[in-house]
């Protein structure tokens, strides 16, 4: 697990008030929404806002691309990495 993995997991726990969930319990390649962690659409908006605040990443809420980025922790890590390289 890279530093960025830990950072993003901690961000998700903090902004979504996941008090009962530890960093280790969020699996890198498992789905974040519905299955896996079981987040919902309000959580997606909240994560979008956190990405904007913390990493200056602007996402379109209705695009297929955004769905891809939000599919797992791994894909979020890729998104942040790619954005940093730009």
């Amino acid at each position: 697990m890279s530093e960025l993995h830990v950072e993003l997991k901690q961000m998700i726990i903090d902004v979504l008030d996941l008090e009962d969930i530890e960093i280790d319990e969020i699996i890198d390649d498992e789905p974040l929404f519905v299955e896996g962690l079981g987040l919902d659409s309000i959580d997606a908006l909240e994560i979008g806002l956190a990405l904007q605040k913390n990493y200056d990443i602007q996402l379109k809420s209705d695009s297929e691309e955004t769905k891809e980025h939000f599919s797992s922790i791994n894909s979020l890590v890729e998104l942040v990495k790619t954005h940093r390289e730009k």
Binding site: V15, L16, D17, L45, Q52
Partner: protein, 267 residues
């Protein structure tokens, strides 16, 4: 003088120039921090101190974990008051009454707007006045209609009026009254409640075993035998005093009219 009459919950009562509203109360429950059961309330009423927070965790176990995180102190209190008096899977329409709702949350959103910060979508969703009713309906999987009301005076009275009105179309109505202390700077301008609380009652149209109550307006023979100290003698806490059987009647003021809420001992 003309005789007035009101049809409520299948009962007529006629009196000269006085409108008496009757209702049956099937069950009640109230929570304030760790004060939760009827026994707790009797002890609290005998020795009223600021209740210990937070809301007992056990009462929230019934809500799914991922939903529980959305409940603030008000939502937790409402869950804690409602769940003990309603069956799992039972569909009951609800009246949810709170003067301020989650004012602390609303204030934090207003501060973000003032600082030109983006608003938290979750915070925004939970600050609407029917948010607690919505969370409860998701937790209980009950899609019955809900009504969220806010009242600056006579909150208990107005909640009861709304619930009694709904008995025209529903056999039972859940009525929930809840609030939390007003945060600064609002607390400089308005006297709020001394601590977070929630009261839940189930009103019934036909249950003859239920305790009957009456609402009587312009009661010249107003009596106030509340034993609560002044800082706790709010309308909702006096209602708990009545529900617990420590008093037989209480007063409430609405639009300059004094109403008496009393137990119907004739039945």
């Amino acid at each position: 003088m003309r005789a007035c009459c009101v049809f409520v919950g299948g009962l007529y009562e006629q009196r000269i120039d006085v409108t008496v509203v009757k209702f049956q109360l099937e069950a009640w429950s109230a929570i304030a921090g760790e004060v939760n059961t009827e026994g707790d309330w009797h002890r609290w009423l005998a020795n009223p101190l600021l209740p210990e927070e937070p809301v007992a965790k056990a009462v929230l176990k019934k809500a799914p974990a991922m939903l529980r995180r959305r409940f603030g102190v008000l939502g937790k209190s409402v869950m804690g008051a409602v769940l003990p008096i309603i069956e799992d899977g039972e569909a009951v329409p609800g009246v949810f009454a709170s003067r301020h709702g989650d004012l602390k949350l609303t204030l934090s959103l207003l501060k973000d707007i003032g600082l030109d910060q983006p608003l938290s979508p979750t915070g925004f969703g939970l600050a609407v006045h029917n948010a607690v009713a919505g969370l409860l309906s998701i937790a209980r999987r009950d899609t019955s209609e809900v009504t969220a009301i806010s009242a600056s005076e006579g909150l208990v009275l107005q909640a009861l009026f709304e619930a009694i009105g709904q008995l025209q179309v529903s056999e039972k109505v859940l009525c929930v009254i809840y609030d939390a202390p007003v945060p600064e700077p609002y607390s400089n301008y308005v006297a709020g409640d001394p601590f977070p609380y929630a009261i839940a009652v189930i009103l019934s149209r036909t249950n003859d075993d239920a305790q009957g109550y009456r609402l009587i307006p312009r009661s010249a023979d107003a009596l106030s035998n509340s034993a609560l100290p002044e800082q706790f003698a709010t309308e909702p806490l006096r209602f708990i005093e009545l529900l617990a059987g420590n008093t037989t009647a209480m007063e409430s003021e609405l639009n300059g009219v004094s109403w008496r809420i009393e137990k119907d001992t004739d039945v």
